[in-house]
Symmetry: C2
């Protein structure tokens, strides 16, 4: 009996380090598949098709929307970003856990469609640390950093719709923690209905036969 | 900020091996405290006060009931068994996770009083295996084994009120799995309300101060 994989959505404050975290998790453990987004933005230098993104024209992307080929999508600063459905479904069917790294609004849309989705929220240990990381990037103006903080405040208001809060203080520990959370989730009663059904049937036969 | 410990109730089919499992868990990991029951049954040879049980007279036990000193109690075959409240509360307050090994009805009573209780249900891999283990004990008559199976059937009907299903196939793996489940549970959003509140306050100050 091959168990269906778990769909995991990872969100977090900008600067929480979720991208690095997810790449390390997928590199260390074979059992996870990282979903690749489709986008209409132009590839940056060195970005290969199907590695960071699937690059689409606006026409292609809107056709995908119309045909229900995306689990969720959003438009940022004039570019579309979305999660192709087929890859996710195939991987789950094969029993692999699929990880989507998407922002909060997309995450909640996915949860509506797939109520069994596991929602993880990544945060640094403190807001001071978050600000430090954004400043350290060196590419963000004070204005951008402020707007990131305002966005973080809006996001913080809905953290309680997530399942787990992952504190990213030490990267290796955090990777191990996320792995542990996902593995434990496989033991949830609500994810073991097939096994429980089987046990009940076996017990009924046993008691009837006694 | 010292986090409160988690109250964990472990139940399971008779013969699932939960006693051995819990003793090994507590021996391997310092962070758990195993709650010790009070009982009015007579000590068996070699059973020391405060090791397997606290031994009480019926009068003492009924006084504990009357004074609300037990989290739950039950009467089996003419003997009282119950969980003293003080020890559990003290350990949780100190941030230790406390494990109670009690049967299903007691487990659900504890959950009513402490809704944040984590409920684990231990089962072997199959009913055939369960029966094998009961037979192997050598102390159980066919009649007792049948009555255990009937009891298991009644218990199976309410497994879905538990949080996690723990399959005890290999003891070491199972101990590691239970440890992983409890540790992950500490990252639940619903158990991180203090941290989330703090993050929100820090963000509000940061945005206001910008």
């Amino acid at each position: 009996m091959k168990k269906r994989g778990i769909l995991i959505v990872v969100s977090g404050f900008s600067g929480a380090g979720k991208g690095t975290l997810m790449r390390k998790l997928v590199a260390e453990y074979d059992e996870y598949a990282l979903s690749i987004s489709a986008t209409t933005r132009n590839p940056r230098e060195g970005e290969e098709e199907g590695s960071a993104y699937f690059f689409k024209t606006v026409e292609q992307f809107e056709k995908m929307i119309a045909q229900g080929e995306l689990i969720e999508y959003a438009n940022y600063v004039g570019n579309y970003y979305g999660t192709p459905r087929t890859y996710v479904e195939e991987q789950l069917e094969q029993g692999r856990d699929v990880i989507l790294e998407i922002e909060m609004q997309g995450a909640l849309k996915v949860k509506e469609q797939f109520p069994e989705t596991l929602l993880l929220f990544v945060t640094p240990n403190s807001i001071q640390e978050l600000e430090k990381r954004l400043v350290r990037r060196g590419t963000e103006t004070a204005e951008i950093i402020n707007s990131r903080m305002e966005q973080a405040l809006r996001e913080a208001a809905v953290i309680d719709r997530y399942d787990y809060l992952v504190i990213n203080e030490d990267l290796d520990e955090c990777v191990a923690n996320v792995h542990q959370i996902i593995q434990s989730e496989h033991s949830r009663v609500s994810r073991s209905t097939e096994f429980i059904k089987q046990i009940k049937e076996e017990l009924e036969e046993n008691v009837k036969g006694a």
